[in-house]
């Protein structure tokens, strides 16, 4: 692996989400709140979800961490917003598989920007950074 391999990890779209995070902030009203951190490295995220009628109506996040964890949180909120809880969870499963380097079949689910994180699978030490926001989402919808 050479320095050029960094390009496969830090794709332009990842850095764009890191620099210009989507859905960053807090939701109004009584949203579901999940705080999660990665105790080994100090990354932390607060995820706020509005879940109604089995649907993720809105999602916002706040937190601190590396480009991978923060861009993944940004992409995750973008991806699950408007989706049925069931689909959001399916997507989370696909994402975990993608991180394990497995072949994935998204079927009717559009992965969109998330696909840019595929390269993380080659950096085992960073997989936990990428999955943090998804784990928070899973915990959030299970609370409901």
């Amino acid at each position: 692996m050479s320095f050029d391999n960094l390009d496969t990890l830090y794709r332009q779209v990842i850095m764009d989400h890191y620099k210009h995070p989507r859905n960053r902030g807090k939701l109004e009203g009584d949203a579901l709140v999940v705080d999660m951190n990665n105790p080994t490295c100090g990354d932390r995220i607060q995820l706020q979800l509005e879940v109604e009628d089995g649907k993720v109506k809105d999602a916002k996040f706040d937190g601190e961490g590396c480009s991978i964890s923060m861009s993944s949180a940004s992409m995750m909120t973008q991806a699950v917003k408007g989706k049925a809880v069931e689909d959001a969870l399916r997507m989370s499963e696909l994402f975990s598989d993608m991180m394990l380097g497995k072949e994935i079949d998204p079927g009717d689910l559009e992965l969109g920007d998330i696909e840019a994180l595929q390269g993380v699978a080659k950096f085992p030490a960073r997989i936990k950074c990428a999955t943090l926001a998804w784990k928070a989402m899973e915990q959030g919808v299970e609370k409901k």
């Binding site: 050479s2 960094l6 490295c41 100090g42 601190e64 590396c66 991978i68």
Partner: protein, 408 residues
């Protein structure tokens, strides 16, 4: 000393990582092991493996001699008065916990104070949090100066008749700060408080003389000083250890076992319940021989020179912030951040160039909050590192900065 010839004794360093020669700058996390240590552990298992202090057969005697021989090496290494004061543990964490369980719980009461510092590793914070919760005593912190050294005025003011235990690190694992242990011990002893020193980062780098600094407990780990993992030392003054109850009970540590009561072996064995870490102790003994051959004064001078060089070179990089005190007040640790680049990203980028540094909170969350940083990157050096390693680091950091500068 010649770091290049020393380097040849560490087989692990002779490898490529991600297509580049390995540059290992994470010795504060764990150091590598020289051939002499690997061979000592190997020889023990091949030739002498047996349980210690029991049985009368020859292998048992050999294993016991080697195990107790290692204890003598440790005793001399830190200049303890006797081997009774040298207890083998699993590492620094277990050593500190032994004191926090046994000594602290027996001696603390409501109104008493334990004082530590904001630069402690979690392993020298949490045992005290638990001890004061169990006894109703209070936990306090000394203040730090802006450069990450201890504020000695505050230390003088804080230690009073209510102070029962002062626990602090010899060398900060994040800032590299070397604390004035001897002075603090004097202040504490005037108030009859005992002092425990976390020597995990001290013993590998500095000459330790427990009689001279007069601390009551000194705890350290083998694996950060060229020895194996899973072995560490609790040094304690004999009169204190004599009074302390063991924390672990079982075989090896008993004298007589009756149906409803038992008595303990004498020091140091009363603290070594169960089959001890025999190979680990022997490996640590070999590591001490290795360090002594180089000489601890030489190691200290080498570390100092390399730290000076690293700080000087790293300062050339614009936007790179170094945390902690000046080079002459620190050990071989340089913690830093590149402006706008998260330390995990820095560490990943360096790893693709074969350079190993640590990124994160370094098990020192309170200190991270004091630094106002959520995480930092850390380069730490040891006997086998050379200026060449630092040059590689600096060029790696420059490329990292360029890479992330460009993608933004």
């Amino acid at each position: 000393m010649d770091a290049r010839s020393i380097r040849e004794q560490f087989p692990i360093l002779n490898q490529e990582v991600n297509g580049h020669p390995l540059v290992y700058l994470d010795s504060s996390a764990t150091s590598h092991k020289p051939l002499a240590v690997l061979e000592a552990v190997d020889a023990y298992y091949r030739n002498d493996n047996s349980n210690v202090h029991r049985g009368v057969h020859t292998l048992g005697t050999r294993a016991t001699d080697k195990y107790e021989g290692a204890r003598e090496k440790v005793q001399q290494f830190i200049n303890a008065r006797s081997t009774k004061e040298v207890i083998f543990t699993r590492g620094t964490t277990t050593a500190i916990n032994t004191v926090a369980h046994s000594y602290a719980r027996a001696n603390l009461k409501p109104g008493d104070e334990v004082i530590i510092t904001p630069m402690e590793h979690h392993s020298n914070i949490i045992p005290w949090q638990q001890a004061v919760k169990a006894t109703g005593a209070t936990l306090k912190y000394f203040e730090l100066n802006d450069d990450g050294t201890l504020n000695m005025d505050d230390v003088k003011k804080s230690i009073g008749p209510q102070t029962k235990i002062v626990a602090l690190t010899h060398v900060s694992n994040v800032l590299g700060t070397i604390n004035p242990i001897k002075e603090i011990v004097e202040l504490a002893h005037r108030q009859n408080a005992v002092v425990l020193v976390d020597g995990a980062q001290g013993a590998p780098h500095l000459k330790v003389n427990v009689q001279e600094i007069d601390c009551d407990f000194y705890c350290f780990s083998g694996h950060k000083m060229c020895g194996p993992t899973g072995i560490g030392i609790l040094y304690g003054k004999q009169e204190l250890l004599e009074e302390m109850e063991p924390v672990e009970f079982g075989g090896e540590m008993i004298d007589f076992v009756h149906l409803y009561d038992s008595t303990w072996k004498e020091l140091p064995w009363k603290f070594e319940g169960g089959t001890p870490i025999i190979a680990g102790a022997i490996g640590l003994g070999a590591a001490i021989d290795f360090l002594n051959q180089i000489g601890m004064d030489e190691i200290e001078a080498h570390d100092q020179k390399l730290t000076n060089y690293a700080m000087e070179r790293m300062r050339e990089i614009e936007g790179l912030e170094i945390y902690g005190p000046a080079a002459d007040k620190r050990s071989a640790v340089v913690t830093f951040n590149i402006d706008g680049v998260h330390p995990h990203d820095t560490a990943t980028a360096l790893d693709t160039m074969g350079i190993a540094v640590r990124a994160g909170h370094h098990c020192a969350q309170p200190l991270m909050r004091w630094l106002n940083a959520t995480a930092t990157a850390r380069a730490s050096m040891y006997v086998y590192n050379t200026e060449d390693d630092i040059d590689q680091l600096v060029s790696g950091l420059t490329r990292t900065k360029e890479f992330f500068g460009n993608v933004f």
